[in-house]
Symmetry: none
Subunit: 232 residues, 4 copies
DNA sequence: TGCTAAGCGAGACGGTACGTCCCGTCTTAAT
DNA sequence: ATTAAGACGGGACGTACCGTCTCGCTTAGCA
């Protein structure tokens, strides 16, 4: 049906794999996943929707969990971390990478993946590498910039902070309880920053100044919520 | 096999339930759960080990998830929150309630429960009520005391703080990665407290004073890790 | 609920049985039997429709088969065999007793009873006594009259003939194939009689004479089919 | 375990059926059937004895009834009808085909099949085709020969006679009452033949002549019973 | 151009467990 | 003692998927 050959498939003999099938299967997987969740996903149905057969799927993925992981990973994309010079803004922005990445995943699917990973170290590594690390790394880089800039104390425990932030996202993502909202996320960041910032009020001031600057020309609609500290 | 009747079961008609069966099933459930995890638990096997039959189990619990939830809840017990006057100590102590409650649960089991809850609101309420709320409430009370005492700022967002703490526990409990250790937990508490305390150094001082008091008579082996702030 | 007591129930102590229940259960049994057949009849449903409970049914009948047998037997009634002097007519008439008794029974129910009886001698005796023997006896008496009258040969094997007739009825009753019709039945009787009659043509002649006699006053529309021998 | 392939299975796609399984299941079915009867036969046990699983059985037969039917049919074999020129002998011989076919079937099994067939037309057709028609056809052919030969009256109702004979066999086969014996069967045939033969005494004479002929050389052990008419 | 090796669909394989139904019995409290 | 109610232990049901296998056919690259 297709002619994807470039005369080369690594020198392997025999008929090469049909790349269209991979795509169709991943798409079908996401479709079923969104409709019926993880427990309701049977490879039988995925094969049916993708117009292929079960053995063909098993030839490419080791089972349900790896397939689902691949399907979800394929949909995700993690943009580069920002570096505007404003620690508060950058962190909030960067944190949204975290959030956006999980808001597309059904809670039950995420939880089931966690469960499968707990029993399969190989799968776990893959899970970490494709779903966890990328966004963690992005936020991590933002933290590093803030520390380098002298906004956060030098002895700040980077990993602990990432854990606290990541935990919050996942905790909420795992419950049917609506995912973390943007404003909740920002307030959490504020609480955490107050614990690790060298001079928290200064950070707030800087952020507000920048905001005004941006807002002045076009008029601020305030749709981001402000970074201000209501208690100050 | 036993009689157990007290001539009273609330006036309900029909043969009363045999409480021994409930106990045997819950015990068998925990046994299988610890051996094979959630995915490896079949009601068939539970029934077998409990010396009863599948229908009898279905008569008492609506399915696998409610059964597992009940079994885990039965094993849990949440002690009363402490109130020693030392915010740092109390919080650490109280937080251990959180931790202890989850360290007995296999990560895959917890994750699977999350997954099932995400699709079943009724189950979710039960899950929240039996596995989440009790420990959250315990820590919450400790926070309230600290606020009342004036150790934490009056406008502290109690729920947010609980979320951050709880999230951390669950996040770790869900990964095969070893659960949160006591020292990690303490350091996380410190980070958070620094963000919400009225006078953080004073809290640390108070805690250390108490510790010395206790330690003096027997000699302190330092096995709890100290509450000291390395940055001070 | 009822007060059927006459202050006497044979001196038995305790609460006397409620006769209404027997009737209600038998009626419910017939109802379910007619709707869903033997395999579809559960004592649970019968109890429900009769407004009583399973144990109460078991107290009165030993199980499904005896209950069904009792229900069917209660509906049956076998009238006295005729003795008009006309062997052909009597036999046909008597044979209808056979037929009528079975036309009210669903084939699958009859067959299932046969099956249960094959494994339970006690039930079998009851089955024979209530469903088979009465009609067999009625036809048997007619045969005896015919032999006594000299219409059938003296050495006629009464039992064999009854077997052949009975077999035919049951054979048909057991198949979904419509039960034996009246005209088929009559022709079968003719075939058999020709094998055992002393003077078959004379029997036919007698029968036809009687028929005319009866028919003359009101005009015979021949709706019974005639007993004539097409071959004569 | 075995290969058995002839590279051809009719061009059907997919993995071909393993014929050994069919055989093992049918054998196991007969085994259980003979031991515990129809009601005592569970597909679970059959699967166990055949070394396979329930779903595999359901893949090949639609349920218990079709399976049992297939198992019984596989054991049956209907030999060709005889044509010796002696109507009485042929009929008796042919009738034994009828008998032999049913003497191997437990009454309760036969009855249960009847019951199931009464509710399922498709099954009924299969039942008729495999268990009823073959032997009926064999006897039917013998009757045709007798009519063609002029031994039976031309207007004889072939179907009615077959019904009467078949009914007798089944009637007896359905009761635990011992199956029809050979001598009973012969006497029934005689009764029936007298009703349809052109010249019954001649038939008897012919039969007896043949018997002497056969008996003379080897000496007659009389194991067939004689065809004589005790009443003559 | 033909060989070889893999991919592919189809579908049956042996198997585990599901959730349900109904059995026949037992244990209550109430009549 | 019998009633209605309802749980008991138990056996079997028919179904859904699992992950694997065996086919016959197709497709490509290498010879």
């Amino acid at each position: 049906m297709s002619k994807a050959h470039g005369s080369r498939n690594g020198g392997a003999p025999g008929r090469p794999r049909d790349a269209h099938i991979d795509a169709a299967v991943l798409a079908a997987t996401l479709e079923v996943l969104d409709e019926k969740g993880y427990a309701g996903l049977s490879l039988e149905e995925v094969a049916g929707r993708a117009g292929t057969s079960r053995p063909t799927i098993y030839r490419r993925w080791a089972g349900r969990a790896p397939l689902v992981l691949a399907a979800i990973a394929a949909r995700l994309d993690v943009p580069a971390p920002p570096d505007s010079g404003c620690t508060l803004c950058d962190l909030a922005e960067s944190f949204n990478v975290f959030l956006a990445a999980y808001r597309t995943i059904r809670p039950d699917v995420l939880a089931s993946l966690y469960s499968d990973c707990a029993r399969d170290p190989e799968l776990r590594d893959c899970f970490l590498g494709t779903l966890i690390e990328p966004s963690r790394r992005a936020v991590g880089r933002t933290l590093d910039q803030a520390i380098a800039r002298g906004d956060l104390r030098a002895e700040t425990d980077r990993e602990q902070l990432l854990d606290l932030l990541g935990a919050l996202v996942h905790y909420r993502a795992l419950f049917g309880r609506e995912h973390l909202t943007d404003s909740e996320a920002e307030r959490a960041i504020q609480t955490l920053l107050r614990g690790v910032a060298v001079d928290y009020p200064a950070l707030v001031a800087h952020s507000q100044a920048l905001e005004l600057e941006h807002a002045a020309p076009h008029g601020d609609h305030g749709e981001h919520g402000d970074h201000g500290d209501r208690t100050a």
